[in-house]
């Protein structure tokens, strides 16, 4: 066990956990922030995507001990009230089916648009291919990313 001070969604949190604990479980089990989802634990599904200093990373692969001073953003902190352009576009296109993968999809999409404000279909495919949606909402995700690109 070791103590860590983490900057998450603009706030400081302290946890006392095994240093190898992935951020995914720190968020879900220790900080009661279950918006970040568990899907595979092996970097294969993207459900756990969060931002580390603004870029998308898989929280299941990020031991808490490596975070240090870097800023973490989770789906709970992407915007104050669900009004990030990506979130608004998701609502406009009514993307979700079961919804389980969508936090990860949204965090990936927000990161993509930061790097590439006007992605082509191929850019979207390449960047998003690590995020599985078992319900098959890919077409709507792509449409929503394009809408968000126009608005941001």
């Amino acid at each position: 066990m070791a103590k860590f001070t983490l900057k998450i969604n603009g706030q400081t949190h302290r946890v006392d956990v095994d240093p190898s604990t992935p951020m995914l479980w720190v968020l879900r089990d220790h900080l009661d922030m279950p918006g970040t989802k568990y899907g595979c634990g092996v970097a294969a599904c993207g459900a756990c995507t969060i931002h580390l200093d603004g870029s998308a990373v898989r929280a299941c692969q990020l031991p808490v001990s490596t975070v240090k001073n870097q800023e973490i953003t989770t789906i709970e902190g992407l915007s104050a009230s669900g009004d990030h352009p990506v979130q608004r576009a998701w609502l406009e296109h009514d993307v979700a089916q079961c919804g389980y993968c969508q936090a990860g999809q949204i965090m990936s999409a927000a990161s993509l648009l930061k790097i590439n404000p006007n992605p082509t279909d191929d850019d979207i495919d390449a960047f998003m291919s690590g995020n599985i949606c078992r319900c098959g909402t890919y077409l709507r995700i792509k449409a929503a990313i394009k809408t968000a690109a126009q608005q941001s």
């Binding site: 604990t21 279950p34 989802k37 092996v42 009514d94 079961c98 998003m128 909402t137 890919y138």
Partner: protein, 749 residues
């Protein structure tokens, strides 16, 4: 034909109460009383035992709260069912709140999501409830104003009396309406007056989803809750022999290591009591990561199982289920199936004289199709919270069929039903998998033993290697043609591990003079369960690929051939014909033909395939256009035509169909769960291939047949025909017919 209009032998009742603080509440209690017909066995039976509870609340400040308690796994019923109520109530959708707080409500346990039945079975009950509430509001207004009832009209949540110009909101009249007796008979709206149903409405949980609010089973937590995980045998055909938990118990955060036994010896299982391993080795600790780590320190010895035969009850009937011993392998499965297919099978339906037709045939087309086990891989793995004490068994988790679980749970914990409470969470995908509540029972037994509230968590590996797969299937289709290349006989013989897929009365039954359907089965120790359109998902793939090849052999257009056969089934049906409606079946083919520009010369050069299917009371057809790039199929465009009767929420319905198309393409190309010596060869999403963004079709155009038929299923019917539409398009692109799923990409090169 299967039409729900005739199956409303239901018991339902409405009950009105006043709300403290003003307003009315109309409780809707509705239990399906229809017994399954003899022809329906196994999972199809489920639809006949559907029941429903919900309510309409109108508060004095004019908030209209509608609660529909069907479990939500992405099929959008949490939005569409309240839309039906709001329509008949003539409410303003803006003022309608669909009850959201999944975690702080005591939900009833009379719901089932599965078999695409949610809307189909509630349609009339919900309309009735909405219309009754509206009637009571009108009657209250008529009394208050002293005007005749038929002069009181409504418009978007407002009661009006035109002559006097009086008007009040529903909220203002709600307390008075609570005093009005529930009408025994109400008139439903004319379909042409619908304002809410049939117009797109956004998912009521949309904002919660995009902001990451806790809604799913895995998100559920209670104070002082512990985390539990199960170490199940590494292979089907093994069971626990002994274990040493010394090291594991020394790991940080670990509280207990023990075993639980799911069902006692001689327990008589119900159909949804499917479980793969009866004894489970459990690790309980403070957090998920700690439990995951401690599991690695367990020293476990496993031993082979011995064959067992169990009696399984299925809605009044019973059958023996054999679980053979041994470590099975996929290669051996397919070899065994080929061998078994050559032997005689059970006759399921026979019309005319198929033997003679095949004997006299000038030409016989014979093709064999096969498909592997599939894992559901719901995005959210299995999990359940349980707190079992002496006086109460409480569960919270993602479950498609609590109705079937609660009885088993009550019996297993020796408690009356009232002491079992199941709170349903949103489900991160279902696809049939969550109709099997073994994880609830496991959670309950663990909580009881640990004397603590616990959440049982399946890792992805646990989830994928547990079983309850879509069965492995094979089927041989044969068509007899006369010298003029006319179809004179049709024969399908299908089998599977451990069940056969054949639906003998479906198309092309009734469309061919001489017809034979047969089935056979091989037992296995791999467990199986319903998977999005059970059996149909294989039948459609095989049969609709075969019809494509048959059309080519007969020198006919594939849509024309199907339409001719359907015409025959309509004009002069052969044998018993009560399964599908040839007109509606033809309708989706005609619609997809039109929308895809099937007959246009500019489309003739495209690599396109067509397929259609009927199941779960609805009809679907797809046309797929694809190209090949670097040996991989690129699906350029899909046209889908669906007849599911009245479409409640068109945009959400289109989303469902798009998802079914993506899911179908993914499973057809990549889906497979294989085993070697009893060990699943895929155990996570890096080895089990699921369709991803770049593999999804570029465009899906969804069209619904416009009619006024009561709504039928939508979650499942569009899924099965995707496989064959893809296979048929791949044939055009590559010149190769595909008989074996998954099609992969190599066969396309």
């Amino acid at each position: 034909m299967e039409n729900n209009a005739t199956t409303y032998s239901r018991r339902s009742f409405l009950k009105v109460t006043s709300l403290t603080g003003g307003g009315m509440m109309l409780g809707i209690h509705w239990l399906a009383g229809a017994a399954p017909s003899a022809a329906e066995t196994g999972l199809d039976v489920v639809k006949e035992t559907f029941s429903f509870n919900g309510h309409i609340k109108i508060t004095s400040d004019n908030i209209i709260q509608i609660m529909a308690q069907n479990p939500e796994f992405g099929q959008n019923v949490k939005t569409s069912l309240p839309m039906i109520v709001a329509e008949e109530l003539d409410a303003d959708w803006k003022n309608v709140v669909v009850e959201q707080a999944a975690f702080d409500l005591k939900l009833y346990t009379r719901q089932f999501a599965g078999g695409s039945q949610s809307v189909r079975t509630t349609w009339k009950a919900l309309r009735n409830a909405g219309a009754s509430a509206r009637h009571m509001l009108r009657e209250a207004a008529a009394k208050t104003w002293g005007v005749p009832l038929d002069e009181v009209t409504t418009n978007a949540g407002v009661l009006l009396h035109e002559k006097t110009g009086k008007s009040v909101t529903y909220g203002e009249m709600a307390s008075a309406a609570a005093e009005i007796p529930v009408p025994t008979d109400v008139k439903l709206k004319d379909l042409k007056d619908f304002k809410i149903v049939r117009s797109p409405r956004k998912n009521v949980d949309g904002l919660n989803i995009v902001t990451g609010k806790p809604m799913f089973g895995l998100d559920y937590r209670q104070k002082d809750m512990l985390i539990a995980m199960i170490q199940h045998p590494p292979a089907f055909g093994l069971k626990l022999k002994s274990y040493d938990a010394k090291q594991a118990l020394k790991m940080p955060g670990i509280k207990h290591v023990f075993t639980i036994k799911l069902f006692p010896d001689k327990y008589e299982r119900q159909i949804f009591d499917t479980r793969t391993f009866n004894e489970a080795l459990v690790v309980v600790g403070k957090s998920t990561w700690e439990v995951m780590n401690a599991r690695k320190k367990l020293k476990v010895e496993w031993e082979p199982i011995t064959e067992k035969v169990e009696c399984v009850h299925s809605f009044g009937s019973e059958r023996d289920e054999i679980t053979p011993a041994g470590l099975e392998s996929t290669d051996q499965h397919f070899a065994k199936m080929a061998e078994r297919a050559a032997q005689s099978a059970n006759e399921l339906r026979k019309d005319g004289d198929p033997e003679a037709a095949f004997k006299n045939a000038a030409f016989i087309l014979e093709r064999t199709y096969s498909a592997p086990f599939l894992a559901h891989n719901t995005m959210e793995p299995m999990n359940c919270f349980a707190h079992v004490t002496e006086s109460k068994a409480f569960f919270a988790g993602p479950l498609q069929a609590p109705e079937f679980a609660e009885k088993s749970l009550a019996e297993r914990f020796g408690m009356p039903l009232e002491q079992v409470e199941i709170q349903m969470t949103r489900m991160g995908g279902g696809f049939g998998r969550r109709a099997y509540a073994h994880y609830m029972l496991e959670a309950g037994l663990i909580s009881q033993r640990a004397k603590a509230p616990i959440k049982l968590v399946y890792s992805r590996e646990d989830d994928m290697t547990y079983g309850i797969y879509r069965p492995a299937y094979t089927a041989t289709y044969r068509a007899a043609l006369d010298a003029n290349k006319q179809l004179i006989g049709f024969h399908v013989k299908g089998g599977g591990i451990p069940e056969h897929p054949i639906a003998a009365d479906r198309f092309p039954a009734s469309a061919v003079d001489n017809y034979l359907a047969e089935g056979w089965e091989i037992p296995s120790n791999l467990t199986i369960g319903a998977f999005r359109a059970p059996r149909s998902n294989f039948n459609a793939a095989a049969e609709q690929s075969f019809l494509d090849e048959l059309a080519e052999t007969m020198g006919k257009d594939p849509i024309d051939l199907r339409l001719e056969m359907l015409q025959r089934a309509k004009d002069k049906p052969v044998g018993k014909h009560d399964n599908y409606d040839p007109d509606r079946y033809a309708g989706v083919l005609k619609l997809v033909r039109e929308k895809s520009g099937w007959d246009l010369p500019e489309n003739k050069g495209k690599n396109r395939g067509v397929a259609a299917y009927f199941c779960h009371n609805s009809y679907a057809a797809h046309v797929i256009d694809l190209t090949i790039k670097d040996g991989e199929p690129v699906v350029e465009q899909v046209y889908s035509a669906v007849d599911c009767g009245i479409v409640i929420n068109p945009d959400a319905a289109a989303n469902m169909v798009e998802g079914a198309v993506v899911d179908g393409i993914g499973n057809a190309l990549y889906g497979a769960l294989t085993v070697k010596d009893g060990v699943p060869e895929q155990n996570n999403l890096n080895t089990y291939r699921i369709i991803r963004h770049h593999e999804a079709p570029k465009k899906v155009d969804v069209h619904f047949v416009q009619n006024d038929i009561d709504p039928t299923g939508l979650g499942e019917p569009p899924f099965p025909p995707v496989f064959a539409a893809l296979a048929n398009a791949l044939y055009r692109a590559t010149g190769k017919r595909l008989y074996k799923q998954p099609f992969g990409v190599k066969s396309v090169e």
